[in-house]
């Protein structure tokens, strides 16, 4: 299958490890055959800080990203290094709305296992790519998948995320192809 038209912009937001957005873009292109580019960084999302929770509101970051979406970009994935939340959850690894234009991924929790244990940079990047691909799936209207071997399966913790392969099941893959064809 050839490279599909349309660009996914991977946007570093605030201070983020340089490799992270590059790895995300590379995985999008290789797995999904879609063009992906690392866009110019956005400022640190101070506006999204919840001082009571000391976490950053993912919904506010998404709203800000939507305003900055470049004309040629079909979808955008933001990469931040701060702890994200949505009102009902204590934290999220990433956030996207079904069929939305923007998603955001946080490396903050992906860099931490049990307290005191360090995580290798390679594992952090792999985790980031998985979360980013999962959230990108939501942008193309893929819901959660019941197959634990699929990237669209909901992974609520790091163990689960690490067990998930970098792979979409055949049903989600077929759904992807159909969605990409529509776009």
């Amino acid at each position: 299958m050839g490279i599909e038209e349309g660009v996914i912009a991977v946007i570093p937001i605030g201070s983020v490890v340089e490799m992270a957005p590059k790895v995300v873009a590379a995985h999008i292109t290789s797995l999904l055959k879609i063009n992906a580019r690392v866009a110019a960084p956005l400022a640190h999302p101070q506006y999204a800080l919840d001082r009571r929770r000391l976490q950053y509101d993912a919904a506010l970051i998404l709203k800000a990203m939507e305003k900055c979406l470049a004309p040629g970009d079909e979808k955008a994935i933001g990469v931040v290094a701060v702890d994200l939340f949505v009102p009902i959850f204590s934290f999220v690894f990433g956030e996207a709305h079904l069929g939305g234009s923007c998603a955001v991924v946080s490396t903050w929790r992906l860099e931490r296992n049990q307290p005191g244990l360090t995580v290798s940079p390679a594992l952090v990047l792999e985790r980031t790519a998985k979360v980013a691909l999962h959230e990108l799936g939501h942008l193309y209207r893929l819901p959660h998948c019941s197959d634990p071997g699929c990237l669209m399966h909901f992974a609520g913790d790091l163990d689960h995320l690490d067990r998930t392969p970098l792979f979409f099941c055949r049903y989600c893959n077929a759904f992807w192809q159909n969605q990409l064809w529509r776009y």
């Binding site: 009102p87 009902i88 959850f89 204590s90 999220v92 709305h97 909901f154 609520g156």
Partner: protein, 448 residues
């Protein structure tokens, strides 16, 4: 993909409704939101929700009050309480009132995932239970017949009595009144209940076929008889034979059957060997057999043989108090069959159903409910879902002869035009003088 559910989020905070909405949508569910208890109750009237997320702290009606009302009106709906201000007291009260879970927000994402898995399993189990219960109720003997009217109570009282003997029974009643159901109930209560119940519609088969079906044939008895074949008189051995529309069978067949009933033996077509006949005969007809006897269409001796016990099944219009019960029964049946949660009939609709004459009796009512459920878009059937009954009643009551139809139409148009003959003639696209002539011919005048 998980099984999709209809979910409603009830929370006065928009950001909570939105974030839960987005997550549940990603899970593949159909999600609605409501900002208050009253709004949630209004939405519940329109759509059957499988699951509700209810916040406790809301202005006006709080979450626990809403929970109580939901559980009272829609007990099968699963409710999960979510709150940022948890207390043991409210948790206990919520669970006692019927909540399935009590979640303190914010919660860990995987916790909600586990809760949803549990809820989906609960929904699946409840659905399976309803299905199995429905099947069991179908199989339960005698309770297939629904009715509380006095005339039906009399039939229910008679059935166990007449079931005990082997006397032939004649069931009479209009088409669609449930004669076969009554026959099955009699069989189920009899000592022959463990043996076959065979029903045959005599009106549906021409005589030669009916003979072959009942008596069977030997190999070579006629062209096409390539092997021996048992007839129903043999297959039913020990059980009950139900002959529906017995008024349709030919005099020759009546003689043959009479011989079987008297001698208790029969022979297959093409055979000379007698076979013992051991069955209980129940017959049914919508015809007036005494009139058929008078006309020479039905044998009197056969009539007396099949009419040892006579049971008349009343038409539905004679037991209108049973319509509500029947509607409830058919609504549950077709909701299950169509997997649509239609569980309520409005008072207006019920009034239409009770006013209608039901020429097709219970069968027609069943069809009407099935049609309404299949075409219904919400959870409740209203008068518009039965508008076709009104149209049918109008067409049944309108005159059949051309002359009467013309008179009926002229009277209708004059009434619509308030007896302005010129306007009526214009509407009917005829001359005023022509209309006057027709009015004279039919004897139509304003004072009539």
């Amino acid at each position: 993909m998980n099984n999709s559910m209809q979910i409603m989020i009830v929370d006065d905070e928009m950001i909570v409704r939105e974030s839960l909405y987005h997550w549940l949508a990603k899970e593949g569910h159909s999600v609605a939101t409501a900002a208050s208890g009253p709004e949630a109750l209004e939405r519940l009237k329109e759509i059957p929700f499988d699951l509700l997320f209810i916040d406790i702290k809301m202005p006006g009606m709080n979450g626990l009050e809403l929970l109580e009302q939901v559980k009272k009106a829609y007990p099968e709906t699963i409710v999960i309480i979510i709150t940022a201000y948890g207390s043991i007291e409210s948790a206990v009260q919520a669970m006692k009132t019927g909540a399935s879970e009590y979640l303190l927000k914010p919660f860990k994402p995987e916790y909600l995932s586990l809760v949803m898995e549990k809820v989906e399993q609960q929904c699946r189990l409840e659905s399976e239970f309803r299905y199995v219960k429905g099947r069991l109720e179908k199989m339960t003997r005698f309770e297939n017949i629904i009715g509380q009217a006095t005339c039906m109570e009399a039939i229910f009282d008679m059935i166990p009595e007449i079931a005990q003997s082997d006397a032939s029974i004649l069931l009479t009643g209009e088409t669609g009144t449930g004669k076969e159901l009554v026959a099955k109930a009699i069989h189920a209560k009899s000592r022959r209940a463990d043996c076959p119940f065979i029903a045959l519609n005599c009106g549906a088969l021409p005589d030669p076929l009916l003979e072959g079906e009942l008596f069977g044939h030997q190999k070579g008895a006629f062209t096409g008889a390539v092997q021996n074949r048992k007839g129903y008189l043999e297959i039913v051995s020990g059980g009950t034979l139900f002959l529906d529309e017995v008024g349709e069978i030919s005099p020759k067949m009546q003689v043959d059957l009479l011989r079987v009933l008297e001698a208790k033996t029969f022979t297959r077509i093409g055979s000379s060997q007698g076979v013992a006949a051991d069955f209980r005969l129940i017959t049914a007809t919508h015809k007036d057999l005494t009139q058929a006897i008078a006309l020479g269409d039905f044998r009197e001796d056969f009539f007396y043989r099949i009419n040892v016990i006579h049971l008349k099944i009343p038409p539905l219009r004679s037991r209108k108090e049973d319509i509500a019960l029947l509607v409830e029964h058919f609504l549950a049946k077709f909701s299950q069959e169509t997997a649509k949660k239609v569980d309520h009939v409005s008072d207006d609709a019920l009034a239409i159903l009770c006013a209608y004459n039901w020429p097709g009796n219970v069968r027609e009512l069943q069809n009407a409910i099935e049609r309404a459920v299949v075409l219904c878009k919400g959870r409740s059937l209203g008068r518009c879902d039965f508008a076709f009954l009104q149209a049918h009643a109008d067409s049944m009551s309108s005159p059949r002869s051309l002359r009467k139809m013309e008179k009926h139409h002229i009277e209708k148009m004059l009434a619509e035009c308030r007896w302005n003959v010129s306007r009526a003639a214009q509407a009917m696209q005829i001359n005023r003088s022509t209309l006057y002539k027709k009015m004279r011919r039919h004897g139509i005048s304003r004072n009539h």
